[in-house]
């Protein structure tokens, strides 16, 4: 019975050309267009990114650096309730809550004013792989610039002090010999002028962008985003057929033949699980093989945890299908389904970071974004594709997606029964 109803659902879907186009063509086109469009051009929103600072030096110049960074980027986030910094900044940043962490190592204040500029990294910039490449580069350049400016000012101040001291010494010597003042024929500070001094602090700054063996690109960002969006688009075709069979009485006929409600629901869910699987395979293939042919960057799947990817995709698929079933059971007409389904999808995509990256949004919008199932799916995909998460690492987004799916299934069962009758 279930197999026959699944076959019916698949046949109906295969013969719905527009529905197929919406499911497969739309997200593919989005991936291609957005990846190419964002390949080189991007205005990094570096001023509003959530970040944390750990000052291990606490010298005067280290405090100045932190103050200067705060002036430009706002107040940093607290690391924890007790104020204790995490043992591992990489793990903290990879969790996705921070865009980057700024760690100022001990002795920074001394090293930065040392003319010889001792070897060794004194400032670390640890960045989330989900952050756009341009934003990462801008932050790094700004940090080097601030540190270099501080070093230049400090060296200049030292040089002035030395000059003043030498000048004073010469005057004192002349006065002592009661000789008229002579113009020094040599520069007063052979030490300052003869020895070349490195002004830039670039050597002190280390910047690292975490990733699972691959560098984030526009493709790496857009494939998961539009794949999640496309998977949620099953609502259109699923609700369309559901309303059609409800209106023509086929659903009532199935019920009168004794087909249980749960079989009717499963017969709709299972084909769309396959469809979502196909969508995922197609979108990933477009990213890996098609984008380079079109002149874009290739999606890299090297080193990712395939189990984690499958788990996230299953979570997204279940959330998408259950929401589609609930919406299809809720609406009364095809016109309502054709309007409400896409509107809900687009709103969730806009809020969830698919259309506009979450880190671009202001704080309150980022908080709202966390209520969008598409955001849970997208974060899960980014965890796997960019942050190198394993199955344990995607438990949180997958749990949210599964919980959402469970709620939607309960709503579907209640609404479905009412609609069938």
């Amino acid at each position: 019975m279930l197999f026959a109803l699944i076959k019916k659902e698949l046949l109906a879907l295969i013969r719905d050309v527009h529905g197929l186009a919406a499911l497969f063509l739309l997200p593919t086109v989005f991936i291609i267009i957005m990846s190419l469009a964002l390949k080189d051009v991007y205005s990094p929103p570096v001023k509003s990114l959530p970040y944390a600072v750990e000052n291990r030096d606490n010298g005067k110049l280290a405090v100045t650096l932190v103050e200067e960074w705060e002036k430009r980027h706002g107040k940093p986030q607290k690391y924890s309730a007790d104020g204790k910094p995490p043992d591992n900044w990489k793990a903290a940043v990879q969790s996705g809550k921070l865009s980057y962490a700024l760690v100022i190592e001990k002795d920074f204040s001394n090293v930065i004013v040392d003319e010889k500029l001792a070897d060794g990294i004194r400032v670390r910039l640890i960045t989330d792989p989900g952050l756009d490449g341009s934003a990462f580069a801008a932050n790094k350049a700004e940090l080097v610039m601030i540190a270099s400016e501080m070093r230049a000012q400090a060296l200049l101040a030292m040089s002035r002090t030395q000059l003043a001291q030498q000048s004073q010494m010469i005057q004192q010597a002349q006065q002592a010999r009661r000789q008229p003042a002579v113009q020094p024929s040599q520069p007063p500070s052979p030490k300052a002028s003869d020895v070349p001094v490195t002004v830039t602090a670039q050597a002190l700054v280390d910047s690292e962008r975490l990733a699972a063996g691959s560098r984030p690109t526009a493709v790496q960002q857009n494939v998961p985003a539009w794949l999640v969006f496309g998977m949620f688009f099953v609502v259109a075709s699923l609700s369309n057929l559901f309303i059609q069979e409800r209106q023509c009485g086929a659903l009532a006929r199935l019920a009168s033949l004794g087909v249980p409600i749960h079989v009717m629901i499963w017969s709709k869910a299972i084909p769309y699980l396959w469809i979502n699987g196909l969508q995922a395979a197609l979108m990933l293939a477009v990213g890996v093989w098609m984008m380079p042919l079109l002149g874009g960057d290739a999606l890299s799947l090297q080193g990712i945890n395939w189990g984690a990817l499958a788990l996230v995709l299953l979570g997204v698929s279940m959330a998408a299908i259950s929401m589609a079933l609930a919406l299809a059971s809720l609406v009364r007409t095809s016109a309502q389904a054709a309007t409400i389904g896409p509107v809900v999808n687009i709103l969730m995509a806009a809020l969830g970071g698919v259309m506009v990256p979450k880190f671009v949004m202001p704080d309150f919008m980022q908080k709202i974004s966390e209520f969008s199932p598409m955001n849970w799916g997208l974060e899960g995909m980014l965890d796997v594709l960019l942050r190198g998460s394993d199955m344990a690492g995607v438990v949180q987004p997958v749990s949210r997606l599964m919980g959402f799916a469970a709620l939607m299934v309960v709503a579907t069962a209640i609404l479905f029964r009412r609609r069938v009758n």
Binding site: R253, L254, A255, L257, G258
Partner: protein, 306 residues
């Protein structure tokens, strides 16, 4: 086979009951014609039998067992061919039959056999590979019927199965329905076409306003063959005319129309001659056996329902 007793039902958030005290029976081998104007309660009765509505008051039984129990244990004993084309337009005729046969619990060789038999019964073999949406109105009706017959139901509910079909398809469908009853099924047939009911129904139930107005065989309902005269007369006052007509039989009047059911020894020609002799000017006159439409209109009155 089917017995409905004192069935009453009220839809949520409505004060007027859709059914009140409806009782009727359908027997194997017979066609029960269920007649009623729009909103009379026919669909509510069918919805009860198809399992879409639960009994609120009264009882429905199949061979002495409560309907709910029969539906739970053997839902395919009762089949409904709704007024809508209740199949998948994007699937072919045979795909539709396959889908609903499996939904009805048929499998293997038995399923294939029933699909073949139902295709043959509805004469749809030539259209087996045609999609439902590309069938003509008559073919769609035949597919609707074929799907209903797949699980070999004992009670078949046909809700206006000939709406929108050509005369040839209608004749075919009526013949098919009669065949089903002759093969032993109990058939409940609703229609607004009185001549169809007269052609195939063994018993007729007329309902209106949620109540049964009459229930019996056609012969019982149509007055056992007595002649009725219907006419409109000017020039004679109402009291005098009624007195005159009552000498010929039972008299009813509806607005300007007089109806006289002639007693055994009176004739229509004598009645008309007597009216003219009394100075009456006959505007029109009809006479003959009563028919179902007259009975239906007389019972349900002529006011529009929608």
């Amino acid at each position: 086979m089917l017995a409905i007793e004192n069935l009453a039902f009220c839809y949520p958030q409505t004060e007027k009951p859709a059914l009140s005290g409806v009782s009727l029976e359908a027997a194997r081998g017979q066609v029960l014609g269920l007649l009623g104007p729009n909103g009379a309660g026919k669909t509510t009765i069918i919805s009860h039998l198809s399992g879409a509505l639960q009994v609120q008051q009264g009882s429905i039984s199949i061979d002495g067992l409560p309907l709910a129990e029969v539906r739970r244990k053997t839902p395919t004993r009762i089949a409904v061919a709704p007024q809508e084309y209740a199949f998948y337009p994007m699937l072919t005729v045979s795909e539709n039959l396959e889908c609903f046969a499996s939904a009805g619990g048929l499998g293997g060789a038995r399923k294939q056999q029933r699909i073949k038999e139902c295709l043959a019964f509805a004469q749809l073999e030539r259209f087996a590979a045609t999609r439902g949406e590309r069938l003509s109105g008559g073919l769609k009706r035949r597919l609707n019927l074929a799907i209903a017959l797949l699980p070999e139901p004992e009670l078949i509910l046909l809700d206006e199965p000939t709406v929108g079909v050509d005369p040839q398809s209608r004749a075919f469908l009526l013949e098919a329905v009669k065949t089903l009853a002759n093969n032993g099924a109990a058939v409940i047939y609703t229609s607004h076409y009185m001549e169809e009911i007269e052609a195939i129904a063994d018993r007729v139930v007329i309902i209106d306003d949620g109540k049964v107005l009459c229930d019996g065989t056609l012969a019982e309902l149509l007055g056992g063959g007595e002649t009725q005269v219907r006419m409109a007369v000017d020039g004679v006052d109402e009291t005098r005319l009624r007195a005159l007509l009552e000498g010929f039989g039972k008299v009813d009047s509806l607005k300007a129309e007089w109806r006289v059911s002639l007693v055994q020894d009176k004739t229509a020609s004598a009645l008309l001659a007597a009216v003219e002799a009394a100075g009456g000017e006959i505007r029109y006159a009809e006479f003959g056996r009563n028919n179902l439409e007259h009975l239906f209109m007389a019972l349900t009155l002529r006011s529009l329902r929608d």
